[in-house]
């Protein structure tokens, strides 16, 4: 094998590796920068054609509330980006049922379609991942 073909093999191997990435969101959107940072990392991972899912637990469910308006606090309203995820082939959004209920919320309060999971289902999903990154 010469150097040129070795290069090609390497490229094919790299582009063929798809891992299951899960991004766990546990923080409310504007009090800290975690939610926005998570979103940016998710968009980057999508550019690498990985199998990405996003999970919303605890105060992370507040990230998805419909009707956010940040004009008066002079911060960027990044909530529309969750709606754009679909365009990047990120369609697996999961929300923890207990976290919703503990905050008086339902899926009707959310700005994107999500799948609601109980703790056991969520745990199973986490266990299936290759990489879990928590925010």
């Amino acid at each position: 094998m010469n150097e040129a073909t070795a290069d090609i093999d390497l490229q094919e191997e790299t582009s063929g590796t798809v891992k299951k990435f899960m991004f766990v969101n546990r923080k409310a959107p504007y009090g800290t920068v975690y939610a926005l940072e998570a979103l940016e990392v998710v968009l980057i991972s999508a550019a690498f054609d990985q199998d990405v899912s996003m999970v919303f637990i605890d105060d992370g469910v507040y990230e998805l509330i419909r009707g956010q308006s940040t004009k008066a606090i002079d911060m960027k309203n990044f909530s529309p980006a969750y709606r754009a995820l679909e365009g990047y082939d990120i369609e697996k959004l999961y929300v923890d049922d207990e976290s919703l209920k503990a905050r008086g919320l339902s899926t009707e309060s959310l700005l994107v379609p999500v799948e609601v999971l109980n703790a056991a289902q969520m745990a199973e999903l986490m266990d299936q991942q290759d990489v879990v990154i928590s925010f």
Partner: protein
């Protein structure tokens, strides 16, 4: 799955959430302020003991010692040093650090 928690249970709910989503056979490693959770009399003790029935609970000894809590560790919690920390990470398919 190895779960790592570095926050005191009285300051954040990271451990509580972690235990809620931990499965049979998972491991939890407490480091930094997270080690307070495995000390006797802490409000988190019942939850930790409950979790120990289906998960292995570890704590980083240097962090316990730094906080003077090394003699107050709940029975059944396994103490590891930095080498043990590395072993745990290497032994598990996936690591989740709860922030």
């Amino acid at each position: 799955m190895l779960h790592i928690v570095n926050k005191s249970p009285s300051e954040r709910n990271a451990l509580e959430s972690c235990l809620r989503f931990g499965r049979n056979g998972s491991a939890v490693l407490l480091i930094e302020d997270g080690v307070y959770a495995v000390t006797r009399g802490n409000a988190a003790e019942p939850k930790v003991k409950d979790a120990m029935r289906q998960m292995q609970i570890y704590a980083l000894r240097p962090d316990l010692e730094a906080r003077g809590m090394q003699d107050a560790v709940i029975d059944g919690v396994k103490l590891v040093d930095y080498g043990g920390f590395v072993d745990l990470v290497a032994e598990h398919h996936c690591v989740q650090s709860w922030l």
